[in-house]
Symmetry: C2
Subunit: 222 residues, 2 copies
């Protein structure tokens, strides 16, 4: 049960001194892999696709990342570390919950259409269907990643209630689900070449739903 992992560096951490050093930049290779998984998905991306885009041979890929599934898991982490700020920075720096949600949706409109950086359209996490492809473990990983959005929204909404920004009677779960739904839907539209301004207009309409839902005379929820 307490078998120690015998493989030299399956975890990816570079050994310090001995032996021939790796000839490629691990992070750069991971970035290319991430981009490919992002665009094509897990199942449609082959090892041959990956080695070509990463500029390395298959044995190097397996030595550095372990397996295709482990590489995807690392790509997910790389995706979050490098792209999360595009969508969440404004949310976390906003003074009010309304401004936070507004920023979240407007920044999503820009990021998901590839306007904030040279990145593929749509969200890698939202559009991933790796769970339905038979890879249950990776499926749970992306599902957990999707759940983070809902958690953050609910935390911010509860904070807004405790600060008196919105009524205590607000249905936090429903409102957070609504914002999550809109952002997820944006990914599908972005993949179909919807423009940034179109998604921004969607965000504006969504905020009208927010305003009506957070007005003092709230219609009691569901």
């Amino acid at each position: 049960m307490q078998k120690t992992d015998q493989t030299p560096e399956a975890d990816g951490t570079a050994a310090r001194g001995r032996g021939r050093p790796r000839a490629f930049d691990r992070e750069a290779a991971l970035a290319q892999a991430t981009r490919l998984f992002w665009i094509k998905g897990f199942g449609a991306t082959s090892i041959a696709d990956l080695t070509q885009a990463m500029g390395i041979g298959a044995p190097s890929l397996y030595a550095a990342f372990g397996s295709k599934e482990a590489l995807y898991a690392e790509a997910l982490r790389h995706y979050r570390e490098n792209n999360e700020a595009l969508v969440w920075a404004g949310f976390f720096s906003a003074a009010t919950a309304r401004e936070a949600v507004m920023a979240f949706l407007m920044d999503s409109a820009a990021a998901l259409t590839g306007c904030l950086a040279d990145i593929p359209r749509g969200c890698m996490v939202a559009l991933s269907s790796v769970g339905g492809e038979g890879h249950a473990e990776l499926g749970e990983l992306v599902q957990a990643a999707r759940a983070v959005t809902l958690d953050r929204l609910k935390i911010r909404l509860n904070q807004a209630i405790s600060e008196g920004e919105i009524p205590a009677s607000t249905d936090v779960h429903a409102l957070a689900r609504f914002v999550q739904t809109v952002q997820n839907g944006m990914s599908i539209l972005a993949r179909d070449e919807a423009s940034r301004s179109e998604l921004e207009a969607v965000a504006q309409v969504a905020m009208l739903g927010w305003d009506a839902r957070t007005a003092q005379r709230t219609i009691s929820g569901t």
Copy 2:
């Protein structure tokens, strides 16, 4: 250029008299294939998966449907013919645009969570990523299917304007995009096991956005 298709019945139409008749129900087999494509997607569904679920051999599949891609195209048609009404019947029978959109979103909440029939969760069209998997032709097919939703919403909104239900100044495109976004987002939530009542609550919030956007004193768009 005017090569006639030589294959006996690649189009699927049953020849009338001669020869041994087909031993399986073509529509029932197609229904099983549709279900499989719906759940797993095009790429992750193998011919072996299909023949097992359809209860036929591979040669029978190819004789009846031509190819895996042609089968998927037929599955898309079968999907629409058999599931469209779940989401659109109320929309088309509603007296006002508001009731139509409300019915569309509420019926979507029920259908996408598998509450209206014994069907998989989420929309086969919205969640399909066959385009990004390298099958451009099928990708255009599902993209066109997604565009139908937007078209219908815009047509109904324009009708509502001409009937005086909503102001002529309404940004029809933005409002239709908003509704489309919400419904698409619902599919992603439904796949992650969101409940019918959660999606119905989302629909309720979305309708508040509708009301604010269609109020006579409309804030001029974007």
